[in-house]
Each structure stands twice: as C-alpha cells, then as structure tokens.
C-alpha cells in the first residue's frame, strides 16, 4: 500500500480579485515539508486550504484520503498551529489547550492529562495557569503549538512555528518534528528562516505569487535548475594555479579565489565534467582538501528561482 499523501490537484483560490494560489498541484509524502516563499506568496492560503479554513474555487484537495470539507474526520488526524495570534478571551494556557481537547471527545480527565503533556513538550508548564493574553509572542507561539500537537495528530500543519522560540525550545521543537516524521507522519511548516528550513526539511515547496515554482528534496530541486551554474567551494593549496587550470575548461563559468587564498569558489555548468576536471587536477599533483556544494541550500534556491521578488 502506498504511503498516505497530501494531494493538491489543480487548486486555485482567489480572494475576490486577489490571487491566493493558482493551479497548484502537489503530492506531499510523509516527512517534514517546508513551504518557502515571500510574504503574500500563498503559503498560509495553502495551509488554510488543506485544513478547510478556506475553500478552493477550483480543484481538489485530499489530506491522507480525507477532504477538508469533512472537518469531523480531517481534524481528528490534523493539528494546525495558525499564524493568528488571538486567543479566546480570558483563557489560561492550560484552558486553551484542554478545552479544545473536549471537542475531540476526550473526557475531562484525559483532556487535562493530554493538555499537560502537550504543554510540557513545548516547555510551558510553569506558565500554564497564566492567561494567554498575558503571554509573550514566543509563549503564544508555543501554546498554539501545544494545542496543535495535544491530540497526537498524523498531520501537523504549522505556520511559522519557530518564530519567537528560544534556542533550547527551538531545538526541542525541531527534534519533535523529526520524531513525528520518523513515525510516518506529515509535518508541513512554513518558515522565513531559510537556514532552518534547510536543516530540518526532508523536502521544500517553493512558492511565489500563488504558484509553485519548485518542489522536492532540496538537492533534487537544485539539480533541476539547469540555467543556474552550480557553485562549489574548493579548499586547496596553490589556489591561483588550480584556478587557472579550471579556467581552461569550457564548463567553468567563473572562478574566484577566496580571501585567505586557500580556496576557490567555482561555478560550473556541468557537475560531472567538473568532477572529472578536479580528478585530473589532483592527479597532476595539486592537493584538493575538500569540495562542498555552495548553493545546495534554500537560500540559493530562493535566490535563483524567485530572485528579485523576495
């Protein structure tokens, strides 16, 4: 049996005359998937569409085989920490998490236990009895996360979940995402912190102006962008000499000697020929200490794909 997926099939959403997303088709497998795009690109719209907070004007959405128009079954397996900062007036952190669990059909006792467990996971037990309205931004972020994970969902949807978290909680939260992903669950998150996305995501979805411009594993996405030369950072001795040798090759478009003169930043249009050239240079007696891709990260992909739109 194939793994359950989140499917967007030719989905479009307009807010009046304003485009939300346009003809989005996606198949998102379990694991950690990051939605990356500039403000207003359609990330939140995609999340709202898959949780039924907004409805598509065209197309079909399926979340592990369930329709967002069936919240009774969908939200049983889904937890969504939205970007909306408001909380029910007067509710404490504990009430905020536990009362929502009552709607899942848990008894008061079970709801209390699950709420404490969720608050513990996000490090909010000490502030649990304080009103959410008095929380800091980071604490409100955490309490929303606690509410989303409290019923142990199969699909976790998180809008900018790492904003405002301190380093310790951030690391614990990322570990929690990884744990969920390892158990075959979906973790779909949006983030502006590209380095973070790079580190934690199994795959990325790059979105701009309501359209998907790339999706998949970061490496695969990078490979698909043929028009942009690949960048490599080479650590070697005799960098100027190695640079001149590389320049003799047709596929090399640019070589820069790095500031300490013990390395080169190379741009190539053909990764295979580049590997072969490096082999030749090494055989010719030059010491190549390391070669690492310099643009296999979301920052670079973002720059290549979205460019000036950021």
């Amino acid at each position: 049996m194939s793994a359950p997926e989140i499917i967007f099939d030719e989905v479009s959403k307009f807010y009046g005359e304003v485009l939300g997303v346009n003809r989005v088709s996606l198949r998102i497998p379990p694991g950690i998937t990051s939605l990356v795009g500039p403000n207003g690109s359609g990330k939140t719209t995609l999340m709202n569409l898959m949780t039924g907070l907004v409805h598509p004007d065209r197309g079909r959405i399926s979340v592990r085989g369930l329709s967002p128009r069936d919240p009774e079954r969908l939200m049983r397996i889904t937890g969504y920490a939205t970007q909306y900062d408001a909380a029910p007036r007067g509710a404490t952190g504990f009430e905020f998490v536990s009362t929502s669990l009552l709607l899942w059909g848990y008894s008061s006792t079970d709801a209390r236990k699950l709420a404490w467990a969720a608050l513990e996971r996000v490090g909010l037990t000490e502030a649990a009895s304080r009103k959410v309205a008095a929380y800091s931004k980071g604490m409100r972020q955490r309490v929303r996360l606690a509410q989303a994970i409290a019923h142990d969902p199969d699909v976790l949807v998180l809008d900018e979940p790492l904003n405002g978290l301190d380093p310790v909680v951030r690391a614990e939260t990322i570990a929690m995402f990884r744990d969920c992903a390892a158990r075959g669950r979906h973790v779909l998150l949006s983030s502006h912190v590209l380095q973070e996305v790079d580190v934690i995501s199994d795959q990325v979805i790059l979105i701009a102006n309501g359209m998907i411009i790339a999706e998949g594993r970061i490496r695969n996405v990078r490979d698909e962008i043929e028009e942009h030369p690949s960048q490599f950072l080479i650590r070697c001795s005799g960098a100027p000499r190695v640079a001149s040798l590389l320049f003799e090759r047709d596929h090399i478009s640019e070589v820069k000697v790095v500031d300490d003169r013990n390395g080169l930043l190379v741009m190539t249009r053909d990764r295979n020929q580049f590997a072969s050239a490096l082999n030749d240079i090494a055989l010719a007696g030059h010491t190549i200490e390391s070669v690492v891709p310099a643009d296999e990260n979301v920052d670079a992909l973002y720059e290549y794909l979205i460019g000036g739109q950021r």
């Binding site: 807010y15 709202n48 949780t51 039924g52 907070l53 907004v54 409805h55 128009r69 919240p71 009774e72 079954r73 969908l74 939200m75 049983r76 889904t78 969504y80 939205t82 909306y84 900062d85 408001a86 909380a87 029910p88 007036r89 007067g90 009362t99 929502s100 009552l102 709607l103 899942w104 059909g105």
Partner: protein, 362 residues
C-alpha cells in the same frame, strides 16, 4: 461518528461558548436591557411602599368617610367631618378672566386624605370643593396591566429583540472580529454541529438572562401589593400567567435567536437585518393574515396571557401600529415559531458550511 457523539459535541460546544456569551464585554448591555424593567418596577415599589408608610404615620380615615366627600362641599365642613388631612396646601393667585376686567384673587386649597389603601386629593377653589381625585396607591390590577404593557411593548418588541441581536450576531461575527473563529473551525466537528452548539449556548444565555429579568420584574410588580391579595393571586392565576409569559419569552429568544444567528452569517452589518426585521415586525398588524404568520412577534404574542394594552385615547395611527393580529392557538404558535426557526437555521447551516476565515476582510 454516531449521533450520540454529535449531540455530546453540541453540548460541549454550548458549554464552552456559554462562558463567553455570559461574560463577553459585547454582551453586557444585554443585561441592562433585561434588568431595566425590574429596576423600574423596584423603584416604583419602593416609592409606593414609602408613600403608604408615610401616609399611615400621618393617620388614616375610614374608607366610608373618604367616599362621603362630594363636590360642592365647603372646606370647613369636610375638615370637620374627616378631621385633619395628611396634607394641606393653600395658594392664592390673581386671575384676570377678560382683558378689560380687573384682576380677581382666587384661593386654591388642596387637602389630601388617606384610608389605608387610597388617597383622595381634594381641590377647593375659594373654599368650595371643585375636584376630587381618588387614587389607589397599590392596585394588583394596575400592576398586572403595567407588567403586561411592559412585557409586550418593551420586553418582546425591544429588549428580547435587541438582546438576541447582540447575543446571536456575536456568536460568529464577534469571533470573526476577535479573530478566534478558526479555533472552532479547526475542531473535529461538523459545521452544522458547531452551529447547533453555538445556537444552544445563545438560546440558553438569552433564556436565562431574559427569563431572570422577566421573573425579577414579576416579583417587583407583586412586592408592593397587599400580602393577602398577593397570596390569593399567587395561588390562583399567577402561575399560569408566569408560565405563559415565560413560554413567550423563550419562544421569542428561539425565533429571534435563529433569525439573528443566520443574519450574522449572511451579512456583515448587523444594523441592516435589525432594521429590516424591526420594520417587518412593526408593520405586521397591517399585513394580510398569511404574511402576518411570517413573524416571530405574531406567535409569541399569541402565547401571552393578556393581549397588549392599547390606550383608547391614543391616535388612530398609533393604535393601528400597536394592534396585534388575531392570536394563534398555542400549539400553532409553538409549532409556528419552531418551524420558522428551523427554516432560518437551515439557511444558517448552509452559510456556515461555506464560511471561510478571512480576518483581513472582516
């Protein structure tokens, strides 16, 4: 999911929502609307009790003596027969009856007597009794009429109407403004279940608030009435009256609640449906019988124990506006409001299924 589970969800939603409805800052004025008549009746009761006590301390005469006073009697004869009045005020005025005549001096004297239940205000002009005005300070009949008028014209037409507007419109619209509606939409509950839970919360809150207001007003209405008279009334028709007033108040909350809940989902500005419905309910008396039945007020007034009082001296247009349609039998009234509510809730359920979170536009 089983039906039992959904019913439990409706109850859970209603319980969670009730606290917000009762303690929302947006709902506080509803308490004012509901309790205003109780406050007025209480103030009136205190005033009546105070007046009775003051009069008693000044001395009461027998009812027969009070009734014996006739217009045309001289003031000295009245004082000699009835004794010292509880109030005696004399004033002299100069009057000119025609422009060309000289001014004449007129002596007016007001005496007040008290027989334990009634006051008689006697106005003497130049020592001759000109007018006699007898007023019973506390009258059960008058109190009941006052309550009935208050219930029809204030409670049903204004307080419950605008109270339900405030409570039920806020169930969805208020959460949209607070940007908290998404919490409900992200619960594993069908949208119509959510609607049912919120409607139940609104209905319970409105029923409790206005039921308590009406009951308190009823108590305040009976407070100044003579204890023995009140006991007889309570043992007799009072219970039926209270039940019928309560039933019509609950039905009004049921009907107006449904209408305003649907309106809150279908339109953004609550003023528009409120004005339209208020206008519709106001002109209801002029409409053909079939159209009259498409009204909440028609059914709930049918359940009241007494028709709305209309002052025979009021202008014709006012009387036409206030005139109620021929009342429906109580089972028809009950079924009528329930059917009307079911229809509007059906449309509300369709609207809530299409509901989207778009706080930026609300």
């Amino acid at each position: 999911m089983s039906r039992d589970f959904r019913i439990r969800q409706i109850w859970t939603i209603a319980r969670l929502e009730l606290r917000r409805v009762f303690f929302s800052r947006r709902s506080f004025w509803v308490y004012g609307l509901a309790l205003f008549p109780a406050v007025i009746f209480t103030i009136a009761a205190i005033a009546m009790t105070y007046e009775s006590r003051t009069n008693n301390s000044a001395g009461a005469i027998s009812p027969a003596l009070l009734d014996s006073v006739r217009e045309g009697e001289r003031v000295e004869a009245v004082i000699e027969r009835l004794g010292k009045p509880i109030r005696d005020v004399e004033r002299t005025r100069r009057l000119r009856e025609d422009d060309d005549k000289e001014e004449t001096e007129v002596v007016s004297r007001w005496l007040r007597y008290w027989d334990g239940r009634r006051t008689a205000n006697l106005h003497f002009r130049d020592g001759i009794l000109e007018t006699k005005w007898v007023r019973q300070i506390v009258s059960l009949e008058r109190q009941r009429d006052a309550y009935n008028g208050m219930f029809h014209y204030y409670y049903l037409k204004l307080a419950i109407f605008f109270g339900c507007l405030g409570i039920f419109m806020n169930l969805f619209r208020g959460e949209m403004l607070d940007k908290t509606l998404h919490f409900w939409l992200l619960a594993p509950a069908r949208r119509d279940v959510l609607l049912g839970g919120k409607y139940l919360a609104g209905l319970l809150a409105a029923t409790i608030i206005f039921g308590a207001g009406a009951a308190l007003t009823y108590v305040a209405m009976l407070w100044p009435v003579d204890a023995s008279e009140a006991r007889v009334f309570l043992a007799g028709p009072a219970l039926t009256q209270i039940l019928r007033y309560s039933a019509s108040a609950i039905l009004a909350c049921l009907g107006y609640g449904g209408v305003f809940l649907a309106a809150g989902l279908l339109v953004r500005n609550p003023i528009i449906p409120a004005v339209v419905l208020l206008a519709w309910e106001s002109i209801n008396g002029f409409l053909p019988a079939v159209l009259q039945k498409i009204s909440v007020l028609y059914y709930v007034q049918s359940l009241c124990p007494m028709p709305p009082p209309i002052d025979s001296g009021a202008p014709l247009l006012i009387r036409l506006f206030l005139a109620p349609a021929a009342p429906a039998p109580w089972p028809v009234a009950l079924i009528g409001v329930c059917a009307l509510t079911a229809v509007v809730l059906y449309f509300a359920a369709q609207a809530v299924k299409r509901l989207e979170i778009n706080y930026a536009n609300d």
